[in-house]
Symmetry: C2
Subunit: 220 residues, 2 copies
């Protein structure tokens, strides 16, 4: 049977980008369907993800898989003999990778959102850097989060880089000045075509964030 792979996504979603990077790492061909966010959601999205109604959704041979980290693990399990493995093979290292991807999910999105919603306030800035520094501490002197190769935790985190310029502009700070090792890791990740071809330009994301600020009534 020929594989039918469809991705419901939105260009600026750091969650959707994770799935695009994973599919690129495995070399999987797929149909990309763009959602028109934040204004409306397609009937297909509402049908395929009735619980959360969010992108990304991977539809594989008609069956939907939701939630970005779950999709990345799914891609790694289904296409396990294609490309490099995204998850470590050892159960302890797998648990460790899941722990850090979960930490990123629980902490960075909401801290980053507070930064662009508040424009340069001290408390959200401190909270954002407290979290980034914990993540940078976990990276330590390693090349990638899992060691010498790009894998699960790198995918979970690198997509936020496309939002860094927006966070920096609206938060009035420099991430490189505070977290130089993290930015060195970003540069290593950007050498991978799966990453550099997926991440949108920071200025385009900033424009979208300015539109979001209007959408939420924060700017006129």
């Amino acid at each position: 049977m020929e594989e039918e792979v469809v991705l419901l996504d939105f260009w600026g979603s750091m969650f959707g980008m994770r799935v695009r990077i994973a599919l690129a790492e495995k070399g999987i061909k797929y149909e990309y369907r763009e959602e028109d966010l934040p204004h409306k959601k397609s009937p297909l999205l509402l049908q395929m993800n009735p619980i959360h109604k969010k992108v990304p959704v991977l539809i594989h041979n008609g069956k939907p898989i939701c939630e970005s980290l779950i999709i990345v693990e799914y891609i790694d399990e289904v296409w396990k003999n294609i490309g490099s493995p995204l998850m470590p093979s050892d159960p302890f290292h797998r648990a460790h990778a899941r722990f850090w991807a979960d930490f990123i999910d629980k902490k960075i999105y909401s801290a980053g959102t507070k930064v662009w919603k508040t424009k340069g306030e001290e408390k959200p800035k401190k909270e954002f850097f407290d979290i980034l520094k914990v993540v940078e501490g976990e990276l330590g002197e390693k090349q990638y989060f899992g060691g010498d190769t790009f894998s699960f935790v790198d995918i979970a985190l690198i997509t936020y880089y496309s939002w860094f310029y927006a966070y920096e502009t609206l938060g009035k700070f420099s991430i490189k000045a505070e977290c130089p090792k993290l930015i060195a890791w970003v540069k290593r990740c950007l050498q991978k075509e799966s990453v550099s071809k997926t991440l949108p330009d920071g200025e385009k994301v900033l424009e979208f964030v300015l539109l979001l600020r209007k959408f939420y009534g924060l700017d006129k």
Copy 2:
């Protein structure tokens, strides 16, 4: 090498109970170390889970694994040839199980906490039942969430049952009246010794919740 398995836990934690059920399902012997919550945390807990500083932590041959669902997956992967598998073998069904366990994690704890913190208010009650009914809808006519056998999603959810009596007493409602199929599923789960021997008595949990209300300054 003899396996050294230690669990840092607290009797009333629905997250810790998940790990105890998984260990019981696999028949793993372990040393149980009780934390004195909510008053203090042991130096070992702070050392083994410096990021979240929360129970449960499974220490396996000296290495800590944190976050209950990650620990349950770890137990299933390490002791995969012992007892019944806790995760489905098919990648789509695995992703589906992870999705629902994640939904339970994201929704039920906070909704339940609002119920016992607000004592019978309408809005938290509605939110709580909206979530429970989504979960009951996913169960449908199945015996267990994964089909005919007790597995990952059942473990993720059943531990909340020990808190149902506290939710009902403080929320002034009956879960059985609203979600009879869910309570029928609870009774099936309780037939398993791994569950019935792990879950504490509802009245003991209610006493603890009343203590928590005092701890948070909600009661004198």
